[in-house]
């Protein structure tokens, strides 16, 4: 969403500027040359079309719904484009320490995959929650989930996180031989 914001912001700015320039050009042109039909925009033809089209005729509702959906998408992009950093405790007030959820997920994943009983693991992390999905070998011990949870919690304890995320671990066993 951050990338979408970086692209959308200058594009919308350009669109606003272009609309403003067009309005000025057309109004000045219509003022100076009263007989003009529009320099860049055929606004006289548009005016006739708009005068013959009522609010309840197609395609007005369709366009209105499209505009509303576009607005909703912009709102979603604007609200979702905040940084999802994971904050850590800093030694002084003049310092702010952050890392990305991706780094936290990598650290957890490395710790979990180090176990011989784990075939593979996928990790999703945020400042509030760390979720680990483990695919274990068929002969893994029954308490593997507790072992993984303990390992992840030990890792999180070693990190000076400002907010300790909740840990959720699910274990699935792989069929077949190791």
């Amino acid at each position: 969403m951050r990338a979408a914001l970086r692209v959308l912001a200058p594009l919308l700015g350009l669109a606003l500027a272009a609309a403003g320039v067009l309005v000025v050009i057309e109004v000045v042109a219509a003022w100076v040359l009263p007989d003009t039909v529009g320099l860049l925009v055929p606004w006289r033809a548009w005016g006739v079309t708009l005068a013959n089209l009522s609010w309840n005729e197609n395609p007005v509702p369709g366009i209105a719904i499209g505009v509303g959906v576009a607005g909703l998408l912009l709102i979603i992009v604007g609200l979702a484009a905040r940084r999802g950093d994971v904050r850590l405790e800093a030694p002084t007030t003049a310092m702010t320490v952050t890392t990305s959820p991706r780094v936290l997920a990598r650290l957890v994943g490395t710790r979990v995959r180090a176990s011989d009983d784990v075939l593979s693991a996928s990790v999703s992390a945020s400042a509030r929650r760390v979720a680990v999905a483990v695919l274990a070998w068929h002969d893994a011990p029954p308490d593997l989930r507790e072992v993984v949870v303990g390992g992840v919690k030990e890792l999180l304890d070693a990190l000076p996180l400002r907010r300790r995320p909740r840990v959720a671990v699910s274990v699935r066993k792989q069929e077949g031989v190791r």
Binding site: A30, L50, V60, P61, V67, A70, G71, A94, L107
Partner: protein
């Protein structure tokens, strides 16, 4: 560290900022702020959403079937504009100019590179010492990269010349003790930098990354 000596009449230093201001500035230094862009996007989105919902309701006769049957370019509006064309032209031109200026200002703000302020030191009467942004950042990055547990480090000065801040990115090794790295960064590297740059209250934003393991050679 490159040093540029220029004449200046600056005699007083800015007062030392409070802890709350330092904390706020260090938080701002984490990354380039996109707050303005986000709120403008939300504002435009709200306007479009409100217009879309309003016109949809109008189209489906929620505000009355007679109103829904009126033309988009309503004769009442046409008559109002025709009654005082000069006024409405002036309003349209002023609106267009405002829209164009706001749009261009937004574009300029969105594509402008993040400033890298130089540090200005007071070298005594009539003398100012200018430490370039790159030199100051390198003076932090080099010792930070040599700390135990740090694979490499990058630093850059952000903010303004009047209120600079430091952004440091550390790529930690697998065996890094994060608390010890941060303690040594603050106590050794940043303390030296603050003293050298004569900035006792330099806010710092530290970004932690993990050094990627080097892939093993495919051929022995």
């Amino acid at each position: 560290m490159s040093v540029d000596l220029t004449k200046s009449h600056r005699t007083t230093r800015a007062p030392r900022p409070t802890d709350a201001r330092l904390r706020r500035r260090s938080r701002s230094a984490v990354a380039r702020s996109a707050t303005g862009d986000r709120w403008l996007l939300v504002l435009i989105g709200l306007v479009l959403l409100a217009a879309g919902i309003g016109v949809t309701l109008l189209s489906y006769g929620v505000f009355g079937t007679a109103r829904a049957g009126r033309p988009l370019l309503d004769p009442i509006i046409v008559d109002t504009v025709a009654a005082d064309p000069v006024l409405w032209r002036a309003i349209a031109i002023a609106g267009g100019i405002v829209l164009a200026v706001l749009g261009l200002a937004w574009v300029a703000r969105a594509v402008r590179p993040e400033p890298r302020p130089d540090v200005v030191l007071d070298g005594g009467p009539d003398t100012t010492i200018l430490v370039s942004s790159g030199a100051a950042a390198e003076a932090v990055a080099a010792p930070a990269g040599s700390l135990a547990g740090v694979g490499r480090a990058r630093a850059r000065l952000v903010g303004s010349t009047a209120a600079p801040a430091l952004r440091v990115t550390l790529w930690l090794t697998d065996d890094a003790d994060v608390r010890a790295v941060l303690r040594r960064l603050d106590g050794e590297v940043l303390a030296t930098a603050r003293s050298a740059l004569d900035l006792p209250a330099l806010p710092v934003a530290v970004r932690l990354e993990v050094e990627r393991p080097h892939p093993a050679p495919r051929v022995a």
